[in-house]
Amino acid sequence: MSDKPKNPKQRIGIFICRCGGNISDTVDVEHLVRHSPDMPNVEFAMWNSFTCSAEGQARIKEKIKEHNLDSAIIGSCTPRQYEELFRGTVAEAGINPYMLEVVNLREQCAYPHHDEPAKATEKATMLVRAAVEKARRLVPLQIRQVQVSRDVAIIGAGIAGMHAAGTLAKLGHDVHLVERETTVGGNMARVVKTFPTDDCAMCTLSPKMDEMTKNKRIHLLTNSEVVAVKKVREGLKVTVRRNPRYLDEGTCTGCGKCTDNCPAGLYNEYNLGLTSVRKAIYKPFPAAVPNKYILTRRGIPPCRDACPVHQNAQGYVALIAAGKFREARDVIRRDNPLPSVCGRVCNHVCETECSRSADGGAISIRALKAFVMAHPDNAEERPISLPDPKPVKVAIVGGGPSGLACAHDLALHGIRSTVFEAGDEPGGVLSLSLPRYRLPREVLERDIAYIRGLGVEIRTGQPVDGPRLRSLLAEYDAVYLAIGLTRDKLLRLPGHDAEGVLLGGAFLHEVRHGRPSRMGNRVLVIGGGNVAFDVARSAVRLGARVEMMCLEGPEDMPALPDEVREGQEEGIVIHHRRSPQRFEVGGGRVTGVATLAVDRIETDELGRLLPVTVPGSEKLLEADTVVFAIGQGPDVEPLKEVGFGLNARGLIGVTDDALHTGVDKLYAGGDAASGPTTVVAAMGMGRRAARSIASDLGYPIADLDVFGPLPKVEAADAIALGHKAGHRTEPRMGPEHTPAAERVKDFAPFESVLDEATAVAEAARCLQCGGCADCRVCDSVCEARALRYDQKPELIELVVGGVIVATGFSEYDPSRLNYGYGRYPNVVTQFQLARMLDPIGPTEGKVVRPLDGKVARRIVMVQCVGSRGDAQGNKDMNAYCSRVCCMVSLKHAGLIKKSFVPDAQITICYIDIRAFGKGYEEYYDRVKTKGVRFLKGLPARVRQDDATGDLLLDVEDQHTARRIELRADLVVLATATEPARGTEDLVRMLTVSRDESGFIREFHPKIRPTDSSVKNVMVAGCSQGPKDITDTISQSGSAAASLAAYLGDGFITLNPLVAHVDADRCRACGRCEESCEFQAVVVGPNLHAEVEEALCEGCGKCSVICPTGAIRVFGAHDEQIEGMMEALRTHES
């Protein structure tokens, strides 16, 4: 850059201030005035006594006009003081206000160099010369105005936010009040009484809360959070996420029927950790504003997440605990087409994933389901109304769990289907394979009858071959192939065709009618899965001596652990890790199996097991009957001509998750497509097939998505919250089993159904992981029909001219200290004590020991817990004083003595009592007269007397220098006020700074305590620092006024000292855009950088990074700075 000045005809005037001696006592002002005109382009120089005075300014203006000056230099106090003022002065005289440079001759010359006047003058000369060099390179700048939005956003609807909202609304601004809780009121709503008047907090708060919904200019967004902030020309674009209440706010009347009928019992966070319970649909307190309920979901409970049919286990368990067995049945039937069956035979993945597994034992979800279905209340299933039938029909081949589930779901949505079952009874594996001791006949029949009752036609004795399948495809609109696995596998080892070698599937079919004819007395079952156990345990019941052999070891048997255990109880001997080699035959009949030990099992790419045997490990297992139960395949041979494919494992190939087969109109599912799974997994596929078919036929099934983006609930969180709601670690209660010796006598079911008392008690153990149990009872009782279960979060964009941050405070967590908080139940905080004083609070207005509910008579209050860390030598505490805690403790002590526990002995341990406000010292005097003891000294720690739950504190009384041991029923900690948790992101988005303690940093702690460092963001209340309600309201008014003043009539004058781009030099590399933290410069469609002046803060980072010098900042051009640098160094004379 050239240092050659722009304008040789420039006429600069220099005005040096004596500042009443402040400057002239040290700097030789006359010398400066005499020599300045030697400097280039300086036309005139003079000194003034008080440049900032009216007279001084008038003289300057006079001289500017007289000497026709176009630029001015004023040598005075720091430019940070009067630069704005002087710009105005010279502008009045006709000079562009940005052709001015102020020289700091006072704070940075006369004052610090007072002891060296000669050198001070020398430096002053250099400073003036530097200003001349800068002024010679200044350019006149235009002052522009931009229109900003007069709307405002206030974040936080506690007392600070509400007061500011009311004030700004009355000043004619539209106010968007954003609150993350479901109600306005903030912390003040919880304190019950306020000092020094001991007024009821809610009484003073309620009218303000009411105003938030009544005032037409205030737009209240509760249950909402700010998720993004973008600076725009009109101010700020604030994106708010309105979290779902799961009901329509406009329709809800606040009648409360929903909450009365809700079966949930969840931790009530409103009471700050004291054990208290609320419903899932609730209002935090009766006077909540808006007067609407909210349904709280935490996430997907693990039970529901794990279940292949997404059975809402939490829902029906909660209803059982509430004694609502009919509603429980309704919840079960919503997702489960075969509930009675599942109640007996399901492999209950829900229980495996149950959060309670880590806290006493999983809930007996399966047994509870059986209980509901067997309950007399549910003996008559209520008819449900079905939708109008659709003009389509579906054929289902196979009447097992998958086919029946498909038929059931289609029927519920008006699509008729016909089930073609090859066997003589419907049910597939449920009727043909599962032994009766696992699934009694009448249980299966009940579920089948229900499905028939939906209009599903089930035809038995209807095997379907290739030609039949082709005719079904022609006649029906869709066909679902769910033929299961019916072809037994076997090993063609030497001797396999001897008498007495049987197949498992066929064996179980025969068992339904009695002892299979070819069965002997000594049975050996080959296999380790559930079918093998069905065979083995059936054989036991038929009087045989039964053994099993399998390739696997005890820890990896494919059968369910329950089956294995029960089988062993029944006397079955299992030979692990044995591979059959050949059958020993005698007289045409099998006499045993020769086996080798298995070293390990390898699997091929098709999933087939290849055991590696140990040579020389022969062992003969004797038996007169050997049954293969090593797996089954689908009976697809007769059907293959239709043209569907098989996958590598020989199962029916499906081409996608929608269960298409590639053959038009043909779908497939269940074990025939997936391989052997479980009853409930097959049902899951059947339900999926129903949705796929319905969608393809043009009648899509719309399932309610109640969870939306919520994740699965973690067990640890659920356990913690459950314990806060009063749950304890308790063992699981399950159904009883008939002892093994008894039960092997016949095929009667051996598992009892839970009795009502046990079922209700077991259901009450549920931690209710998901929050709301999705039982939908609230919807059934809501007359306004306000519930919206699939409500999603909504994003709302606001454009506002400014923001007030009023996010309040959170309490310091004292559990990190030695006071026993969190370990000893009788140690609480002052805020928790406030909740106890609330007549409708968690203790109904009684001051009690949380441990046992007894009245607390001996109360010790400890001050400065988490505050004034330096005074206590504790780095785990904040350094500051939290200001209000002394008054809070005095208030509580006074109130307890006056009304709650008049004979209480209250001791307040303190460092200082700070009663600073109006009426506070008098309040303190009154509390002293009530007999409260004040002890100057804080306890080193708190211990618990485990026998009684009393607390023991050692305190040194600083006045008497004696150590005292105090015994207390209740210890109350006055915890520090900290910035509200969860507000760090907000602060970052608004680009305001925080101070060392995390509170929002005010622009200046003395002069501008409610402005932030960002010109359109104000701060009020405890988000700026701890304070009481009085000061909060004052600050809130100040912030509101400050913001209103800034917004004025909606036009803002822009600062012209911003970046500007020389388009000819710009090569659109984008580095300026990248470096700008204010999003003020963007490479635009014209292929050069463009500056949005309303957003530019003039910091200059862009000009450093620009490789061509295209972008520069007015008032800080390179040549200006270089010119100054040259003037500020000593030159050889």
Binding site: P79, E122, V1104, T1108, G1109, D1118, E1122
Partner: protein
């Protein structure tokens, strides 16, 4: 003979410059060796300014600004820190010595700190002796060039 060093200071409007004002208001005395150029943010300080300053014969250069994390423009001082680190290496390579370039965090409340750092810096530069580039004038670049 006592050499009076030339110290160039860049001070940011919000912290460093305000801190210097604070030192003056408290009448703390420090050497006249330092002359300050006010910038809105230390992020404005181009590396070329620092090199140019040494070319012009300054004995020491100081960047005085906000504490890291408190920059009024969010992270301008972080940029400046990066620049200073690079330049200190260059100064070493040139044989001038990295100690001739400093970056100091001075908030608006830290007047005494400002005064102290000026005294210390001056004493250090006196001990180091004048910059080897002090002799001879420097030709400024012509219009159209960019260093």
């Amino acid at each position: 003979m006592n050499h009076e060093p030339d110290i160039l200071g860049f001070a940011c409007n919000w912290c460093g410059y305000a801190g210097a004002d604070g030192a003056g208001q408290a009448k703390l005395q420090y050497p006249t060796s330092i002359r300050i150029i006010r910038v809105m943010c230390l992020g404005r300080v181009d590396p070329s300014f620092v090199l140019s300053a040494f070319e012009r014969g300054y004995d020491g250069v100081a960047l005085i600004g906000c504490h890291i994390g408190d920059c009024h423009y969010l992270s301008g001082n972080v940029n400046a820190q990066t620049v200073v680190e690079h330049l200190r290496g260059i100064l070493d390579t040139m044989g001038l010595g990295r100690e001739r370039l400093r970056m100091e965090e001075v908030s608006s409340a830290e007047g005494p700190r400002f005064a102290e750092l000026v005294r210390t810096f001056k004493d250090q530069l006196v001990a180091m002796g004048p910059s080897p580039l002090k002799k001879g004038k420097v030709e400024l670049a012509e219009e159209g060039d960019r260093p």
